[in-house]
């Protein structure tokens, strides 16, 4: 017997089919309908690295209660082709529905339905509905959306409004044609004849916004006053380039799609030299090409922000999937030693917050800051409380933008000459922008003296002083960076440690575990560099049993924890197949460690505790 994980009041919909069928766009309009109505939504798009064909899916979770991540369970499966039925039927919850077009295929009970008799087949002649409305093939999506709502017993007005909004800029016939198609689907599904077991209680409309991770980062960067953004497209980071390109010009941001990532990162340094808040973003492959210039930012004490949104490697790897395997790479990329800050937001709200904070930290430390995310955070779209725009602050640190240099005696050496890299206690020197009279300086990729000149940097004492000056900033950084995030009771039977987007499924799993009365707590390492040694080690010392959860194969966070705390990790949960952790998986892993093993099924259901456990 299997039981559900302790989900709340929710419905899960998956649309599957070949790429190029507009599955994501369709799914997102469905999400908008529910979000508008006041529900919490969370979506997960999965697709291979090609433009048409292949197998794409869009999974949407809709809930009346707050949710934090996707789940594996599916209540309605819209299969736009046979493989979508076959690949995902096992995810269907008992009583769940399979919507398909009988003109496409008729599911084979054994092959396509895995012999299941507890699901409801909802044949909807999608193409016929489209043809009847005089539409084009891609509109089968819209019919399927109508059918989905029809089967769920949800009224169509929300979707109709959404369609009309979406096509507002086109001829009115287009919108009406789509509405007709949606209606056709809706009616057909209502007549399928089997009841839909899940239901969504009524909720009040809310002010929540529906954003993906990159919109959150982009908003944060814009709010922080970014003035230059350079990138070369690379999945999953490309969408941030698109966001910036779309909003950049109006906001006064120079947005440059560069010839390569080398140029992007080097351009960021050039713009930052001029005092502009500058950023680039990429994924691991592009970051590989940025490594040298990233180190240049370190030695030249250049304030800048680098988004590193990872995917599974090595090399080209799995472009459209997710993984957390570039942690150590982010920490150690580039020859030589210099202070860097690595922030790993765990969800949309943190993505916004850490993005604007990153610029302040970069400016205050005059050193590069990495915003470390992954495709799971980049791509998925969730309802979130509107970002707290009033909380945003701009702090540019020791920066002189205008006015006479003589107003800034701390910027000058004993002879009254500007010394860009003057040795200071905290490691940070006054930065005077070019354009200010007297701001002669040399920003240098070589080691250098207080003015930036290279030849003098070869002196052992000068080198040592400059190297130590830079590294001193790490101590200062401790006070500026986000502290680790602690969840759950102080006294716990099991303590989880994780970073980045794993926050989302962990939060969800914790909610379930706490609801069941389990004493489990967790620590999100939000800043990976400088590592919050004190907090992590204290957490570990307090932990009865610890479990490190991370999306890679070699245990990179685990290694860090061991190195910093000289403390053993008792258990770990790792994933490296390109898929994010599901809360069900984490829930099951924790239950096992708590001595109440449950078995996980593809449907996200968990088998009942074993008798002899």
């Amino acid at each position: 017997m299997s039981q559900h994980a302790p989900y709340g009041h929710e419905v899960r919909i998956r649309i599957g089919g070949p790429a190029g069928f507009g599955i994501k766009a369709a799914g997102q309009s469905l999400a908008r309908v529910f979000a508008k109505a006041g529900y919490h939504t969370f979506d997960l798009t999965e697709y291979p690295s090609l433009i048409k064909g292949g197998h794409n899916t869009y999974h949407l979770r809709v809930s009346a209660d707050p949710i934090s991540s996707h789940v594996m369970a599916t209540d309605v499966l819209v299969a736009l082709d046979r493989p979508s039925a076959r690949l995902h039927v096992a995810e269907l919850t008992s009583g769940g529905a399979l919507i398909y077009d009988p003109n496409d295929f008729e599911p084979d009970p054994a092959e396509d339905l895995a012999g299941r008799d507890d699901i409801c087949l909802v044949p909807v002649p999608l193409s016929e509905i489209v043809d009847a409305a005089g539409g084009v093939k891609i509109m089968r999506n819209v019919a399927a959306l109508g059918a989905t709502l029809g089967h769920m017993g949800v009224e169509l007005d929300g979707l109709e409004a959404s369609i009309r909004e979406q096509f507002a800029h086109k001829a009115p016939e287009v919108a009406e044609q789509n509405v007709a198609v949606a209606r056709g689907g809706h009616e057909h599904a209502r007549s399928a004849g089997c009841a839909f077991p899940a239901s969504l209680p009524y909720v009040e409309p809310s002010q929540r916004i529906l954003v993906d991770g990159h919109e959150a980062v982009g908003l944060g960067a814009l709010a922080a006053g970014v003035g230059f953004y350079a990138a070369y497209p690379m999945t999953p980071a490309s969408s941030l380039l698109h966001f910036m390109a779309k909003h950049g010009d109006a906001a006064g941001v120079v947005v440059k799609h560069t010839e390569d990532e080398i140029a992007a990162m080097n351009m960021v340094l050039g713009a930052a030299f001029g005092g502009t808040r500058s950023m680039c973003a990429t994924s691991g492959g592009g970051f590989s090409l940025m490594v040298e210039a990233f180190g240049f930012a370190g030695v030249s004490e250049t304030a800048c922000v680098v988004g590193l949104f990872t995917r599974p490697g090595p090399a080209t790897g799995l472009p459209t999937w997710t993984e957390q395997s570039d942690l150590r790479f982010a920490l150690h990329a580039a020859q030589g030693e210099f202070p860097r800050v690595v922030l790993a937001p765990g969800d949309h709200a943190q993505a916004f917050e850490y993005a604007w904070r990153a610029f302040n930290i970069a400016d205050e430390l005059q050193t590069p800051v990495i915003l470390l995310g992954d495709a799971y955070l980049s791509d998925n779209r969730a309802t979130t409380d509107p970002f707290d725009l009033d909380s945003v602050e701009v702090s540019r640190g020791k920066l002189v933008t205008e006015g006479p240099l003589t107003d800034h005696p701390d910027a000058l050496d004993a002879e009254g000459r500007y010394a860009r890299y003057q040795i200071t206690d905290d490691g940070v020197s006054v930065r005077v922008l070019p354009g200010v009279e007297g701001a002669v300086q040399l920003v240098n990729s070589y080691e250098h003296d207080g003015y930036g000149y290279g030849a003098q940097g070869e002196n052992a004492a000068v080198r040592t002083a400059q190297n130590e000056k830079r590294l001193r900033k790490l101590a200062l950084a401790k006070d500026l960076v986000p502290a680790p995030n602690r969840f759950g009771p102080d006294d716990a039977d099991l303590s989880l440690i994780f970073f980045g987007s794993t926050k989302m499924p962990v939060t969800e799993a914790l909610r379930w575990l706490h609801a069941e009365g389990h004493a489990v707590n967790a620590l999100q390492v939000t800043t990976l560099e400088p590592f919050p040694t004190d907090e992590v080690c204290a957490f570990l010392r307090d932990a009865r049993i610890n479990l490190v959860i991370e999306g890679n194969a070699t245990g990179q966070l685990e290694g860090l924890v061991r190195e910093k705390c000289l403390h053993a990790v008792h258990h770990h949960l790792r994933r490296y197949d390109g898929r994010p952790f599901s809360p069900e998986q984490i829930y099951a892993a924790v239950k096992r460690l708590l001595g109440e093993p449950v078995e996980l099924t593809v449907a996200g259901a968990v088998a009942a505790p074993k008798e002899d456990a």
Binding site: A263, G275, T276, S278
Partner: protein, 293 residues
């Protein structure tokens, strides 16, 4: 109005005695003085190489970039600091080897800047390996049997990609070079001045006297610098070989090609109208964008 000397600092140039870099150093100082540029009005960018060591000797707002990467930061600086002018100095290994992609893309990008290539046809700083402009079959420590590739044709590349000012100078003629610099610095758009800069230590072929016997000035001919195809044809004549004899192997210096009025990248970029730092005086209001999500 600054004197040429105003652009130098107390660091004594460490180039080899007789190196072409000394002359280029002088010519640029003179051009800057002639144009009356003030130190706070422009920034200079260098690549890594002997040429780049010049970064230590200029008293300017400077940026000593990575090897081969002087152009990208220079362009970004130009685009975010419309109140500033930009000069780039790069090496032949630096700019036409490792940095070649940036060079070609910069030509087609047409961001206003003056790019001075110290073309000594050798890697100076790393002790004499072949550069992309080393003559065909010339032996070097990295190519003891001689370079097997055709040399890079920077003039031809710039012409193929639409650079708007394409010139060639010679470190052995400081007044001529100074004049070229003045023209390039006054150009609105991307200006390339490729300068033959004899490396007296490692390049024993393309010496000062070798060039003196071969260069001639385009201004002293009836050259019209507005024909892109003709300019390309002319550029092919400077693919010299090791055996190239002074009488047949004539090397033109001067302005190969120029076109004024072509819109620059910055002119077509509204966001580039104001210094970027002015957008970070306080938080930007993003409520309107957020409301649309």
């Amino acid at each position: 109005m600054p004197e040429p000397k105003a652009f130098t600092n107390a660091n004594k140039p460490t180039w080899c005695p007789g190196c072409g870099n000394h002359a280029m150093f002088l010519a640029l100082q003179r051009a800057l003085a002639e144009l009356g540029w003030e130190k706070h009005e422009f920034a200079m960018f260098w690549g890594i190489g002997c040429h780049g060591n010049g970064a230590d000797f200029y008293d300017v707002q400077g940026f000593h970039a990575l090897h081969g990467r002087a152009l990208p930061p220079a362009a970004a600086y130009a685009l975010t600091r419309p109140d500033q002018r930009v000069i780039v100095e790069m090496g032949d290994g630096d700019g036409y080897g490792l940095g070649l992609g940036h060079f070609v893309h910069a030509c087609r990008r047409n961001v206003s800047m003056t790019v001075i290539a110290h073309n000594n046809q050798i890697y100076g700083l790393t002790t004499g390996q072949a550069s992309p402009t080393t003559d065909h079959l010339m032996p070097t420590v990295s190519t003891p049997k001689g370079v097997l590739e055709d040399p890079i044709n920077p003039i031809g590349l710039a012409l193929a990609e639409g650079a708007t000012f394409v010139a060639r100078g010679f470190a052995g003629d400081i007044p001529h070079l100074t004049a070229l610099y003045v023209e390039a610095l006054s150009h609105d758009g991307f200006a390339l001045v490729d300068v033959f800069q004899p490396c007296v230590t490692w390049n024993k072929v393309n010496t000062f006297s070798w060039f003196r016997e071969r260069v001639f000035k385009l201004e002293e001919t009836d050259w019209v610098a507005s024909d892109r195809v003709k300019a390309f044809e002319l550029s092919l004549s400077t693919f010299h070989e090791l055996t190239c004899a002074p009488d047949t192997c004539r090397i033109p210096i001067g302005v190969y090609y120029r076109v004024e009025g072509k819109p620059t990248y910055e002119a077509a970029t509204p966001a580039a109208a104001e210094p970027g730092w002015k957008h970070a005086l306080e938080p930007r209001d993003v409520s309107a964008i957020m409301a649309k999500l």
